[in-house]
Amino acid sequence: MSKPLLKDLRELVTANIITSDTADQIARYYQSKKEAPGEKFNIVLGILGALLVGFGIVLLVAHNWDVMPRSVQTIFAFLPLAAGQALCVFTLLKKRTNVAWRESSSVILFFAVASCMALISQIYHINGTLDGFILTWLLLTAALVYMMRSSLVSLLVIACATWYATLVGYQNIFSYHHTDIPYFYLVFLAFIGPHYYQYFKSNRKSNFFHLHNWFLVISTVIALGAFAGKSEDTFQWIFIGYCSLFGIYYLLGESVYFEESRLFANPFLIAGLLGTIIIFLFWSYDGIWNELRGSKENYFRDLFQSIFFYLSFLLLVLHIYLLINLSKAEKGLYNPLRLSVYVFAVAVLFFAQIPFLGLLIMNAWVLVTAMFYIRKGAIKDHLGILNFGLLIIACLTLLRFFDDSIAFVWRGLFFVATGIGFFLANYLILKKRKSIS
């Protein structure tokens, strides 16, 4: 237990604020809550060691020891695999409850499979794409998540599945080759689902739960675009899809499940908020609206053939479902940012031919969002939230600095007004605090 807390407890007992019994009870409570620090340290060291050994084996294999005879190389291909499997069997038999053993042996086996596959490919000069390699690797190892109850392998599966999705979906995006849809990414995500749900249900304070949240958020943000293919004619649906995804994350981040989380333990809120604002700022330029102008041939045919349209639609429906469920438990200030995806969808789908109105909606919505945070910051007496709102306006102002379509005078006035707003808002909050104290 921490020394300052013990000192405080002694002080409180001396000052007759609490009895020595209560002080003992408090001390015992904190003692029982605390995990043995050595155990946590061992887990971290074990995981780090296994990761480094795993990467090391892969790199050693990649050197290609072609001076060795084929038979020796084949033995070396299976050696790490056998060692990894032996470690896993030992863990299952003797160290089942030891997290460090479970995670380390699983990670070593995870990389041993990759090194075995790589070495066999080298020996027999087997060609094949990197995405094919990753897919086979994951198919041979993903089951370790449940067999070994390994969260680190689960994180590695998410990371490698994202890599796979990127290779399949984005690789040929700027070439004349066709792009494929990385369906297996969804399969792996669904496969990880029950493991994540276990954490969500019963272990929400665990570091692995936070890591899973971050990995899932980053992974899905990267991989969603990989399902778009080359549907240039329906590109506003790509943004609707992303806006829905960020909207869903924002709703989750704000929900009761993450209410008590610190900001950095809530990637849903961070990604949802920043993602939505970035999309709106991006569409506050007239260049992108001009791309939408003019009727496109076969627009609806292309739209209904695009898998991304259905994916975006599904995300939109999920957003509506979450919004309805959250609205029931609505308390206090209504948050307009929850409706951003609908504002965005209406603007890009119905005002595509009237860029002036579309631009107006985008800029106005950024201002509404900023005002909401400024007001929220003022009500909560929170300088961080208030300045975040002001920062959104500052970003909009900065972007308009390069916008030639607005007269210099207006841009200048807008800048001055934003600067004054910053000073004034902070000054008023600080003044309010002083008067209260």
Binding site: N64, D66, L81, Q85, C88, V89, A118, I120, N127, L140
Partner: protein
């Protein structure tokens, strides 16, 4: 429950051995019993994050022209029936969408097909265009290849064993000397 986990793990471990083991067995069969073909080629040096450095082999004999329309499109599989020219290098004798009866064929992928006046040329990609080398030797291999190209009589070729549609590269030669020896 404990033994259930162990049983499931043993099953996974067996699969982890069987998948690469099957590849080894198949490739060894080709190397032992397959017929050798020499494919004229030029090596270029890229890299794979897991498998390491290799040279990509751009084969000279990579297209076939005739008048038959097989309705082949990009990424489709096709059987390439092989023969040899007067100097002993591999040539494409025919293409087939059905598995041939003899042994001298390889299953390849259509890159693209182009139609001219009354002929159709099918460009193909062989399933053996990567030759893995020591990380220091692979970049040298390309440089060495560029040098003898000044001499028009120099030939670079890949010796490939082929059996029942499967193929394994045995070695790559520049003027009949293995490329590995030249890069030492």
């Amino acid at each position: 429950m404990k033994y259930g986990f162990i049983l499931a793990f043993v099953l996974l471990a067996i699969i982890q051995w069987v998948v690469p083991g099957k590849i080894i067995w198949e490739k060894d069969e080709v190397l032992k019993k397959g017929e050798s073909f020499k494919f004229k080629t030029e090596p270029v040096d890229p890299s794979h994050p897991f498998k390491g450095k290799y040279i990509t082999l751009n084969f000279a004999e990579n297209s076939f022209t005739d008048t038959i329309n097989r309705n082949l499109a990009g990424n489709e599989s096709v059987y390439v029936i092989l023969g040899r020219d007067a100097r002993g290098f591999a040539i494409i004798k025919d293409l087939s969408t059905r598995q041939p009866q003899n042994n001298n064929y390889v299953k390849a992928t259509v890159y693209y097909a182009s139609r001219e006046k009354d002929s159709i040329t099918v460009h193909i990609r062989y399933p053996f265009d990567e030759f893995y080398m020591d990380e220091y030797k692979a970049p040298k291999a390309e440089t060495i290849y560029r040098e003898p190209t000044r001499d028009s009589s120099a030939t670079t070729y890949a010796l490939v064993k082929i059996r029942k549609g499967q193929a394994v590269i045995q070695n790559v030669f520049i003027n009949d000397i293995p490329i590995g020896e030249l890069t030492r």
